[in-house]
């Protein structure tokens, strides 16, 4: 076990170095220059140079620049934003809970909708429900999310007035009672969460569908069926488990996709999370902020994968034993 953990740790360390190297390279290789360095204002210009200088040095050889920067980020020092001068790490810290929170809800919904959907469709393969869900999930995958968002905002927000258009909470949030607050946040989250999860239903539900088909064809299930075990139990004991395990891994792997998707829905729904911050950083060419966000989003993915691994090991005793 100890050896296994050690190996994983080394692996993680290598990945982390690689992540930072790629983030650095992307910024360094891309043409163009950071915000403000060519500003009309000479003072702004020297200030920006100074901030970058401090973060990774400007006139040194590339590998030295990288090394300086790398040492800094080990201390969690990502420098200061080129546009508003605040610490990059602080700016990101404020945003992570929002994006992470919404994405957890999204994952939960994907998980709890797509698996039953796929299971049922797979179990009744070829039936009406199967066909219907097939169409639905494909539609979800194919629709451009911002288009869907605009249509939903127009219909449910403006025409029906059921949900607020954008933002995370109402203007009067501070003066609400706790239940009101919860209701308020929930109301604001309906549309963005729907948009964010709709597109991701396809992958998982297709997966669990085909997995279900595969399992139902397996001999042990057939044997169980012929023994007269109730379907409910078979589904619960065998199929669900067989489907759930790989799904955990898939959810872990879907972290980067969800983070990437958050750029679009956070922008359109005015949700001040990491996605929106990233979009603003990119448009402002705020190099230090972009680099910080790239590294941190990749690290979040790493953590996601690790958690998935742990969950997998926890759920499937075979793996635990093998590793021991």
């Amino acid at each position: 076990m100890g050896k296994y953990i050690l190996k994983r740790m080394i692996n993680l360390a290598v990945l982390f170095v690689g992540i930072t190297a790629i983030s650095f390279a992307v910024i360094k290789l891309a043409p163009g220059s950071p915000a403000g360095i060519y500003s009309f204002n000479a003072k702004v210009k020297t200030d920006v140079s100074k901030r970058i200088e401090k973060l990774y040095g400007l006139d040194k050889p590339l590998w030295q620049q990288y090394w300086i920067w790398f040492k800094n980020i080990l201390k969690l020092d990502f420098g200061t934003s080129l546009t508003d001068g605040r610490k990059v790490i602080d700016e990101i810290k404020e945003r992570i809970p929002i994006t992470l929170g919404i994405n957890l809800i999204v994952m939960f919904i994907i998980f709890s909708v797509s698996i039953p959907l796929g299971l049922w469709a797979g179990y009744k393969q070829g039936g009406l429900f199967d066909k219907f869900t097939t169409i639905l999930v494909f539609a979800g995958f194919a629709v451009p999310s911002f288009w869907l968002a605009l249509l939903l905002m127009q219909y449910f927000g403006v025409d029906l007035g059921w949900f607020p258009i954008s933002g995370l909470v109402s203007v009067d949030f501070d003066y609400f009672t706790l239940p009101q607050k919860i209701f308020d946040v929930a109301k604001h989250l309906v549309l963005p969460v729907f948009v964010a999860s709709f597109g991701s239903l396809a992958g998982l539900s297709r997966y669990s569908r085909s997995k279900t088909i595969e399992i139902t064809r397996a001999n042990y299930i057939r044997a169980a069926l012929s023994k007269g075990l109730p379907v409910r139990i078979i589904v619960y004991r065998h199929i669900l488990k067989g489907v759930m395990l790989p799904v955990i891994t898939i959810l872990g792997l879907s972290v980067p996709g969800l983070l990437g998707g958050s750029v679009v829905f956070e922008t359109i729904f005015s949700i001040p999370g990491m996605g929106l911050l990233f979009y603003q950083a990119v448009m402002m060419r705020d190099y230090t902020l972009i680099m910080g966000l790239l590294v941190i989003s990749a690290v979040l993915t790493l953590i996601g994968n690790m958690l998935a691994d742990l969950a997998y090991a926890w759920a499937d005793p075979r793996i635990r034993y093998r590793r021991n």
């Binding site: 009309f40 607020p164 995370l168 001040p272």
Partner: protein, 550 residues
């Protein structure tokens, strides 16, 4: 007022037939004294404003983005301000004197003005602000006007004496710069201080909270404001990065004030629902759209070519297509709301024939019959650069492209992201032509745009315009404090520039906006409608937001 029930009834009705019943209400109930509350300004409620980007700093000296500047305008005051008719008037200053041919300006400050923390505002704060403005370590873009000051002296608690190196008429306008508190910032580094996120000013609203995770900045009415406590008790700024989202928010009354695109103004904002809740406004803006030529370009060096292009493009077409008529043709850098605007100026007509004629005179014609004009074997091709994220400019560029193609000039368009635009196109002068807009301040000084000394890297005359006569006039106008005489000088400047055509002046779009109807007291004047914001109020029953004991 005998029967409160009745009063409420009238008000309910008045929503539908407002003009008539309002009149009735005033006549019937006013004499019956103060209990007819709804007729008197009522406190409370909130106004929700929005911006595309997050504000970056609430120190006005450092603020360059519009979100920060707008928020700062509620928190701070300058010594002077522009009133509803765009005349300079005292703000923190009670009065001012211009002495010694304009070399010396003395400001007499109002007494008893309080900062939001209760400390009194004095001349020391003015001195402090000035020192920060000219401090080379402070990253402010506003220092140039203040570097012309030779000496600033405090004469007692309420008098400030400013001595200029030479007469400088834009000086007064520069003192609309917000004043920051010395007692708080004395020992702070302005560039890094956390004060930027919880500022203290003298303005009608004080800072309440800045919540990044909710995307809002909130201000509350300052009870000791020297012009009286504002009636609307809260201002909430929301960051809404997407324009489509913003408009949907307006449609659902989630935002009380927004600028509108011409299309929104004319079509969406004409629905009964919209008109029920919002008032629309249109103003001449003090910005204009232009195509600037690189005057070192082989073709554009020749004044006739530039004049020809001016004839070849129909500005009215652009106004009609891009701005749906919500703009007017410009004839120079001054816009209709400026006192330097010459109402007798006329734009050149649209005449492709004249354009061709002029080009021929300049030796440009289609010598090889390939459909493209040429001179000395060089085909007349050029690229218009414009910045990303501005639909109007993009569309205008496409129309110019089309119209110049009609007379045989091949134009391509490159839409470039803003920082790249500044960095590679403007600063390195790697462009043939740019399509951009200027938004000028109230003072008509256009020295930095057209004076020949302003052409080095990073300065605003990046097209390389040089005309000794214009130079001389611009310098003279800067020294002249007499408005009428200064006006004459700017008339001349405009005529010369329009004839030279370093820019193709296209148009000055109106600024279009809307504001929620529940606000009473909105009274648009030449200078817009924000000038009396502290007097606006919302009747209690229409206060859709919580007031909470402020």
């Amino acid at each position: 007022m005998l029967n409160p029930q009745k009063n409420r009834l009238i008000l309910l009705l008045s929503k539908k037939h407002s003009a008539f019943f309002f009149f009735l209400g005033v006549v019937l109930f006013l004499p019956l004294a103060g209990s007819a509350q709804s007729r008197w300004p009522q406190r409370g409620g909130a106004i929700v404003l929005s911006s595309i980007g997050s504000p970056r700093t609430l120190i006005p000296l450092l603020a360059t983005d519009s979100a920060s500047s707008i928020i700062c305008s509620f928190i701070y005051n300058g010594l002077l301000k522009y009133d509803k008719n765009l005349n300079l008037t005292g703000d923190l200053a009670r009065s001012w004197e211009v002495l010694d041919n304009g070399r010396k300006i003395i400001f007499h400050l109002k007494k008893g003005i309080k900062w939001h923390d209760g400390v009194e505002f004095t001349a020391e704060d003015v001195r402090f602000t000035y020192q920060k403005l000219i401090d080379p370590k402070v990253i402010t873009p506003y220092s140039s006007d203040f570097q012309r000051i030779k000496r600033l002296a405090v004469r007692g608690k309420y008098t400030v004496e400013v001595i200029y190196k030479e007469p400088f008429s834009p000086a007064l306008s520069s003192w609309t710069m917000p004043i920051i508190p010395e007692h708080i910032l004395k020992n702070e580094d302005l560039n890094t201080t956390s004060y930027a996120r919880h500022p203290i000013g003298t303005g009608p609203y004080k800072f309440h909270k800045w919540s990044v995770c909710r995307g809002i900045v909130e201000l509350t009415a300052f009870k000791d404001y020297f012009e009286g406590k504002p009636f609307v008790s809260r201002i909430v700024f929301r960051v809404i990065p997407d324009t489509a989202t913003l408009f949907l928010e307006v449609l659902t009354q989630g935002v009380d004030n927004a600028s509108l695109t011409p299309l929104q103004y004319l079509k969406h904002a004409n629905t009964p629902l919209f008109r029920k809740h919002y008032r629309k406004f249109t103003y001449p803006s003090h910005g204009f759209l232009y195509m600037g030529y690189n005057l070192n370009n082989f073709f554009f060096r020749d004044k006739r070519v530039r004049q020809a292009l001016n004839y070849a493009v129909d500005k009215n077409e652009i106004i009609k297509a891009v701005y749906l008529g919500q703009a007017e043709v410009s004839t120079g850098p001054f816009t209709r709301d400026s006192w330097a605007y010459d109402f007798n100026s006329r734009p050149a007509e649209f005449s492709p024939l004249r354009a061709k004629e002029l080009l021929k005179q300049a030796g440009i014609y289609d010598s090889d019959s390939d459909g493209i004009l040429d001179k000395n074997g060089r085909p007349f091709k050029f690229t218009i650069f414009t910045n990303q994220g501005n639909m109007e400019r993009k569309m205008a560029a496409e129309i110019i492209q089309k119209r110049l193609a009609d007379i045989g000039i091949k134009v391509s368009i490159r839409v470039v992201e803003w920082t790249v635009f500044i960095d590679r196109i403007i600063k390195k002068k790697k462009f043939d032509a740019v399509l951009l807009g200027w938004s000028l301040s109230q003072d008509p000084d256009v020295y930095s745009l057209f004076h020949s000394s302003q052409t080095s890297e990073g300065e605003f005359n990046f097209i390389g315009y040089k005309n000794p006569e214009v130079d001389e006039l611009l310098v003279q106008a800067r020294r002249e404090f007499d408005k009428e005489r200064r006006k004459e000088l700017y008339y001349k400047v405009r005529r010369l520039i329009y004839d030279d055509q370093p820019y193709m002046f296209i148009c000055s779009p109106y600024s279009l906006s809307c504001i929620h109807k529940r606000f009473i007291g909105v009274c648009p004047k030449k200078g817009g409608y924000w000038y009396n914001f502290i007097k606006w109020w919302v009747p209690k029953q229409k206060q859709i937001h919580i007031t909470a004991g402020f």
